[in-house]
Symmetry: C2
Subunit: 355 residues, 2 copies
Amino acid sequence: MSRVQQSSLVKLAVIPGDGIGPEVITEAEKVLDAATASSGVRFEKTRFSLGAARFLETGDTLTDADLEAIAGHDAILLGAVGGVPGDPRLKDANIERGLLLKLRFELDHYVNLRPSKLYPGVPGPLAAPGDIDFVVVREGTEGPYVGNGGSIRRGTPHEVANETSVNTAFGVERVVRYAFDLAERRGKKVTLVHKTNVLVHAGGIYKRIVDEVATEHPEVAVDYLHVDAATIFLVTNPGRFDVIVTDNLFGDILTDLAGAVTGGIGLAASGNINPDGAFPSMFEPVHGSAPDIAGQQKADPTAAILSVSLLLDHLGLRDEAQRVTTAVEDDLAIRGQAARSTAQIGDAIVDRLQA
Amino acid sequence: MSRVQQSSLVKLAVIPGDGIGPEVITEAEKVLDAATASSGVRFEKTRFSLGAARFLETGDTLTDADLEAIAGHDAILLGAVGGVPGDPRLKDANIERGLLLKLRFELDHYVNLRPSKLYPGVPGPLAAPGDIDFVVVREGTEGPYVGNGGSIRRGTPHEVANETSVNTAFGVERVVRYAFDLAERRGKKVTLVHKTNVLVHAGGIYKRIVDEVATEHPEVAVDYLHVDAATIFLVTNPGRFDVIVTDNLFGDILTDLAGAVTGGIGLAASGNINPDGAFPSMFEPVHGSAPDIAGQQKADPTAAILSVSLLLDHLGLRDEAQRVTTAVEDDLAIRGQAARSTAQIGDAIVDRLQA
Ligand SMILES: CC(C)[C@H](C(=O)O)[C@@H](O)C(=O)O
Ligand SMILES: CC(C)[C@H](C(=O)O)[C@@H](O)C(=O)O
């Protein structure tokens, strides 16, 4: 993991994106500035205009020049990308594949890190949630997300549409190792989630590699759940999880559900990590661009702010990261029902950091 | 759908299976007998010994002769199959693929029908569940379940393990039509669940066909959700669903979660339906064989009993089906906390049917 020298410079690429993205990123940046004001680390920010809005203006999703420029940074902070669902002008754009997933794949973000914690005072949908505090380590560069699909006789009664999940020992091993290392620093438990009884090959490679890596971590308990059963436990006994390791698609599903049971994806942060440091890692809220509430100061910036905490932690700014998390935690504890604007929530968290 | 003439004979294949399977099937059969005693329809039952136990005895999972014999029946009632997880003797068996999925595929069970209803008096994990009453129409013969996978350099650092989801217009259209027809008889709403933004081809064929079939059903509202978002709604607003149509894998995941939010998979029934009637349909609880509690009269037979109701309905025995559901509903309403044995629950439901 790249570590920032104190009193050094961090080149940060900021992609506010579409919908509520710019609003939550404004608050996230305020918090970043406040948290690092006295750290001796200076953040040099470059803004990238990317997303549906940019596509509608220029027809570009992510050019080679964009990618190269972004790759030259130390880290990326992203709001959310995606236009209004069903917008006919975006019909062939697929901002998700062409921008978000392209960044994750090109920048080799093989760990998609998604912590799930039910903070005190946060209302959730479960009647008896118990203690929820786990991290999903979602593989980010393989599996059903590779875009290895195609169709023949499209649109006819004889169409066949295929989609291939590609999984490699190289790709699985590195993410599994990350999960075990993380578990060593946490609750010492790794749960593999897959569907080995049906996806014999894709599941088999995960199972074998988890079993192998487990022998190097005798202190870490290893558990396996089929993905269907895992969703049950997420609502009946989420306390059983410490570190979940899973593929790209199952990780996508489990983390939205995990977000919901811990108070909503308005609170769910994530990091797309390249642990080797060859490429900048990217931090973003799990939620989307929510165009229906964009520009109304209704969005909760908490997920973006907690993503800043993950970013700081990744840069080795542990104290700063912890201070952001604590400020969020303290704010969450007294939130209650009173509606605040996006900026009011950001300001309240900044105030705590400055107090 | 095959319809039974009153005063005719139904040839029923019974597969009790492994673990708690035989226990719950005993109760399900009692209920079937009681519900149809005065119906004029006679059930001729043939028991098939299939599952992990049979495999351990004979090395057979499902022989051609088994399959042919089962296919000669009018319907199938199945308990649960699968041995003790991790049993080394079952290492290469894969009872799930070789038996359960083989039956679904060979008998062309293209509709996997899974109703989810929160019955009055049933405790669930959600703080404010609201009215939950929807049906998942899960495709049963295609998608990631086709077993179209493989690996090279298995067990080496250069392994590549692939798994291909296969989807055809033929296969998607028939299950989508079933979903729309069902919605016409229910709440007139179909929600397609997929991941079209990532699985462009597999998702695209579903989206196109749903849009096409929708034009023939102007009364039916059509909704689309990505699978990750769908899991959120299942815990925050399950009342929004009427009929969900989805692929084999997403259906597997959503129905376990749906079972959990409606009081547990001990209550979740399912039908593997061949609507054309070319092959017998198969009815089974969503739960597995739970070897850890097998033989202890601890299993809840309700899911198996509700599967009998689906079976009766499928055979055209509407009144009998309704009587079973009502008896279960009345029993659930007064269950409270007192633990009863598997047989006591079955007997209580039989008593209601005979009252
Ligand atoms: C927008 C979409 C492509 C993305 C994903 O599926 O990974 C999102 O759901 C997420 O979880 O970050
Ligand atoms: C046992 C397994 C193969 C099966 C499935 O994945 O379909 C089960 O989970 C189910 O839902 O009936």
